[in-house]
Amino acid sequence: MRGILYVPFIILLGLFQVSVLDICKVWNVKPDLLLVGMAACGVYTSSAWALSLGLLAGLWKDIFSAGPFGVNTLLFSLWSLALVKLARKISIDNYIIFAGTIAVITALDAILTRLVFLYFGKVVSLGIFLRILVLETAYTAAASVPLFSLAKMIHEKSR
């Protein structure tokens, strides 16, 4: 039942994402803490918990978003599923590999989210899209290191 310890962790990250984190914006871009939190929890929990936490993180993000379709609920669940599969093949329990994985997921998440929004008629120009994509990917990967340490600490304390 160690996974339950990460539920308040995800909820707190979501609340931070929509409040205090706005102070840390760089060129109007902030890191995606929920995505990092979801991935970090996935490394230290069982597959079922990883999937549930991915679903919770996605739902939590969609509650604060706008729009008729919960794109994050779907994508975050799929990312956690992919991470569980990936973690069986390679070890992600390393800062550099984790940050690299986060960078790839953030970039893919941004591209897929844009495609879904494009389908719903919300158009963002290519220049703005590329600016946000690059900055968000780099910023989220950088922010993943301290969050990963925090998730690791929770894991070690709970043992």
Binding site: V18, I23, K30, I63, A66, T73, K85
Partner: protein, 257 residues
């Protein structure tokens, strides 16, 4: 790398179907979720304000000095305007003009912001219980902020003017040239579809034209900072700095018609 046998494939398909159903029903989950997070968000908004005060202490100090000078100047202006107002009232009385109804507004506190970088929205602590509904216009003392896009009984979401989904018909105060102002997800807005011979200059004030939706005429939007030619070469665009600092708004007013 990701191989599935038949049993796993069925399980995966079922999971995917469940996720899609859940994603489709997010609108139902959103209302209790927002209501639940209202109080912790209001608490964190307070913390954000305090941290901002500490982090930007020196900037605030300098700004305070500038504002003090501005207050003195504005006090003088108010005195002058009071004279003009009194004169105006007298003349109105003489001409028996009907008193125009002022806006009825609901004051709201910003408790949350956008969870990602792809939309520009804020969550406020008032909702349909206070008469707020979808499509209403949101302002501050300085000017236009955005539009209400979602409401729950006790909270609402406001799409800010720098969201790419937001557009409003506007005009240049000096030349009365009309155009369409949209968001760019950044610090500036863009006024599109200006004819090549449009009379627009840097520092021109941009106001709402009153031609789109519920937007009243004459709300201040921003000032022109740059003028350029569209990629097609058929028209011009103007970059606008909003009068409202969208990243620092804490209180807003929703106009109830």
């Amino acid at each position: 790398m990701f191989k599935f046998n038949k049993k796993q494939l069925i399980r995966f398909t079922a999971l995917l179907a469940a996720f899609i159903t859940l994603s489709g029903s997010i609108v139902i989950i959103r209302t209790p979720g927002l209501n639940l997070s209202r109080y912790p968000l209001a608490f964190l908004a307070g913390i954000r304000r305090e941290i901002g005060g500490i982090v930007f202490y020196h900037r605030n100090l300098v700004r305070n000095e500038i504002l003090d000078k501005e207050i003195d100047f504005l006090k003088q202006k108010i005195r002058e305007l009071n004279d003009i107002y009194a004169e105006n009232q007298r003349l109105k009385g003489l001409l028996e003009f009907k008193q125009k109804t002022p806006y009825h507004v609901v004051a709201c506190r910003v408790i949350g912001r956008s969870p990602d970088n792809w939309m520009s929205l804020v969550t406020v602590d008032k909702g349909s219980n206070q008469g707020i509904r979808r499509g209403l216009v949101v302002i501050t003392y300085a000017g236009l902020v955005g539009r209400v896009t979602e409401t729950t009984p006790s909270a609402s979401k406001i799409t800010l003017i720098n969201d790419p989904d937001f557009s409003v018909s506007a005009l240049i105060q000096r030349s009365r040239q009309e155009g369409l102002v949209s968001g760019t997800l950044g610090a500036y807005l863009i006024m599109k579809y200006l004819p090549k011979d449009a009379d627009v200059k840097v520092d021109d004030a941009i106001l709402t034209s009153g031609l789109s939706g519920n937007f009243p005429k004459g709300l201040s939007i921003g000032k022109v900072v740059e003028i350029g030619e569209e990629f097609s070469g058929l028209s011009h665009y103007a970059l606008i700095r909003p009068v409202v600092n969208l990243s620092a708004i804490e209180e807003v007013f929703v106009i109830i018609p």
